[in-house]
Amino acid sequence: MSAVTADVAKAVVKRRSHPTAHGEARFGFAMIGLSVLFVAVFTAIPILASLGLSFFSWDVISSPRYVGLKNYEQLFNDGPVLKSFGVTLGMALAIVVLQLTIGLALAVLVNQRKLVWVRTLFRTAFYLPLLASTAAVSIFMGYLFDYKFGVVNYYLGLLGIPNVPWLTSGFGAASTIVLIAVWQQVGFTFVLFVASLMSVPTDVLEAAQIDGAGALRTLFRIKIPLISPTILFAAVVALINAMQLFDQPYIMTKGGPGSATTTVTISMYQKGFQNLQFGYGSAIAILLLVAILMITGLQFLAARKLVFYQ
């Protein structure tokens, strides 16, 4: 092909491809624009509003009054609210550890060649609780775990086990809420891990098998390192969710007994919506946001050493 012909050909291609490229670009920008708009309306603006509100005293009824950093000063001297941060962190860590461990164990189990045929069934079964309304689940679980009239204690009683104060003792209530949250959320990590384990290269696994590595060695030395980015992702998402735990403790225990299950979001709701301290409630929300950002940052720092990218 001559140079002239080549130039003409390029021009034709360019002319033909131009409208399509523009269309794709427009479509792409539209989609990105929608996402940006969505994030702005439902995330950025509320965060900015909360940040602004946290410098005011506002009871909804009267006009807002500028108080500077007083809400934050009050927050750092408010024992019960600070305790709710501790309660949240403790429950969140328990939820994340259990959710990842159980999710991974189930995924490894289902990923066995012998069980491939039931993989879809298990994936559906474990994912279903996640689709149920948390409020409905919490009400239902509240009945199941009722101290005197609950089905769980009824069956334990048949085995001669005395009634367990699932929701009426501090430790019991926190543990039960953690277990229910894990039960409901574990399907998410399970599905992620199943997909991730399926993507582990078979030649690597075969090489390990030839080298005489056992199942446990293969799991800890090959599979887990190879899916570590997924584990990091699951850990970050699970922790962010767990730090915002509200529905289960609010519905099942109203944050009690005492303040044993009063999470930060419950504190925020109580102060803001029930006690009409919207400025103070916003300050709690901002501190929660900062805490989540810091913990997530720490997770990414730790990931530098622990996460293996192929």
């Binding site: 603006i45 506002w58 109203k254 009690g256 007994p257």
Partner: protein, 467 residues
């Protein structure tokens, strides 16, 4: 006007607009709040907020519409429901709705929210309207106990015409009492009689003698009242003579009534209050009472209806509630709350207030009068789901289908026990209710009433100081 606003230190809208990005967002919120004070429904509609489900609210709207049309044929009557587990929940949602710029003209407010609404000047006092229409209202005041009216007063002014109330009486399962060989309690029974009956009933496996709910109305607080104790110092506002001297002239039951209940310093860790809560802990330890739920009491009513609970605190609303839950007339009954140091009962009353922002206050007042007419009661509350505020409506005919047999106890609580008083609901009721719930569950869980109530005392002092 009586309510007090913090006058200084507030920001104007323009100032807020200068406050940067965060302030911009806040300005939007403040603007909404400001709107809420200027509006009050469109000129063609009269809006009412109702505590319950929307389906019920719509039915009520349809039932009342013909009556409203007689008052003003051009107006559209709209009732919006707000659902909640208790009054605390309801109030929180109402205030959020006000903040969103959609205030009603008329709002359903019980004792729990009355002082909050009045102190924040969200509602208007009805003094002038009542004085103007006193001759027409004399029949109403002659039929309603002054204790209920006094509970709707704040700082000498009347904020609502009460239409209903519920006193904390004791419901019991006649079937379980019979099975346990317990004689049905008399109206003058004591706490010892109560515990003796409870001990006999608790011998049945899977049955608890006494069930209760963690909340302000009719919770362990009923024991607290019977023990002559309270969470707050009791007092009364001056004033109110403008009403008592005219509407209740010569009525002995109105003697000593003043301008509404004035709730003073917290007394949550007083000896008698601690004793009352400790009594509940002991009931739990003795196996006479299960650990209570926090909330409105729906679960408890279900357990009672299925004969899993022998006794529970209930008001007139339990009659309809138990009948709706399938209990047959005769399978349950009611009596006075047992006597401890006194036989003082608590109660909560309900009614409707006119929102300050309403542009149709005169029409709203006509609706308020309509809502307390005898014929309207069953339109608003079908099925005995509360106790009528009017004595004439508490009749044998009313309870012939639902029971209980001793229905007269409901009103007798007011007439036979003049010391019966409203629940302690100061303007900082929401904070009080939250703290009470938390500290009660703490006490039941730990078994230490004193420590929990020391905590409640601190919580209430803080809330009272902040309000």
């Amino acid at each position: 006007m009586t309510g007090i606003h913090p006058a200084g230190g507030t920001l104007g809208r323009r100032t807020l607009l200068k406050a940067g990005a965060g302030g911009l967002s806040l300005a939007a919120l403040a603007d909404l709040a400001a709107c809420s004070k200027d509006s009050g429904g469109s000129s063609k509609s009269l809006k009412m907020l109702y505590f319950g489900e929307q389906a019920q609210a719509t039915q009520l709207q349809n039932r009342l519409q013909p009556q409203i049309a007689k008052l003003d044929s051009t107006i559209k009557f709209e009732i919006s429901a707000i659902n909640g587990t208790d009054w605390n929940d309801f109030l929180a949602k109402v205030l959020t709705q006000i903040a969103a710029g959609t205030p009603p003209d008329i709002i359903s407010v019980a004792t729990e929210g009355l002082q909050l609404m009045a102190s924040k000047e969200l509602a208007i006092p009805l003094d002038d309207y009542v004085t103007k229409d006193l001759s027409g209202l004399k029949e109403y005041f002659a039929d309603i106990h002054p204790a209920l009216v006094e509970s709707m007063m704040y700082q000498g002014h009347l904020w609502e015409l009460p239409d209903s109330f519920n006193a904390g009486n004791m419901f019991y399962s006649t079937e379980l009492f019979q099975r346990a060989g317990v004689t049905p309690p008399s109206e003058t029974w004591t706490l010892d009689d109560f515990e003796s009956a409870a001990t006999k009933i608790a011998k049945f496996k899977g049955i608890n003698a006494f069930g209760w709910v963690v909340r302000l109305w009719g919770s362990w607080t009923s024991f607290m009242y019977a023990n002559n104790a309270n969470l707050l110092e009791e007092g009364k506002y001056d004033g109110g003579d403008w009403l008592w001297s005219k509407a209740y002239a010569g009525d002995a039951a109105a003697a000593g009534r003043k301008g509404g209940w004035k709730w003073g310093a917290p007394t949550a860790n007083s000896e008698a209050t601690v004793e009352a809560l400790d009594y509940m802990i002991q009931l739990t330890k003795k196996g006479l009472s299960p650990s209570p739920d926090v909330g409105g009491g729906g679960t408890l009513q279900g357990l009672f209806a299925s004969n899993r609970i022998g006794m529970s605190i209930g008001g007139g609303f339990w009659a309809g509630g138990l009948a709706n839950a399938g209990m047959k007339n005769g399978s349950f009954d009611v009596t006075m709350f047992p006597k401890w140091k006194s036989q003082r009962h608590l109660f909560g009353a309900g009614g409707y207030a006119i929102f300050k922002s309403s542009k149709k206050k005169d029409l709203a007042w006509e609706v308020l009068k309509l809502l307390v007419k005898p014929d309207t009661f069953d339109l608003v509350f079908p099925g005995n789901v509360t106790t009528p505020g009017r004595k004439s409506l508490v009749s044998a005919a009313r309870y012939s289908k639902t029971g209980p047999k001793h229905w007269s106890v409901f009103y007798d609580t007011l007439t036979k026990h003049p010391d019966t008083a409203p629940i302690p609901a100061p303007p900082y009721y929401n904070a009080l209710a939250t703290a009470l719930n938390q500290r009660t569950t703490q006490a039941i869980s730990s078994g230490n009433a004193k420590a929990a109530l020391d905590g409640l005392q601190a919580d209430l002092e803080k809330a009272a100081g902040a309000s």
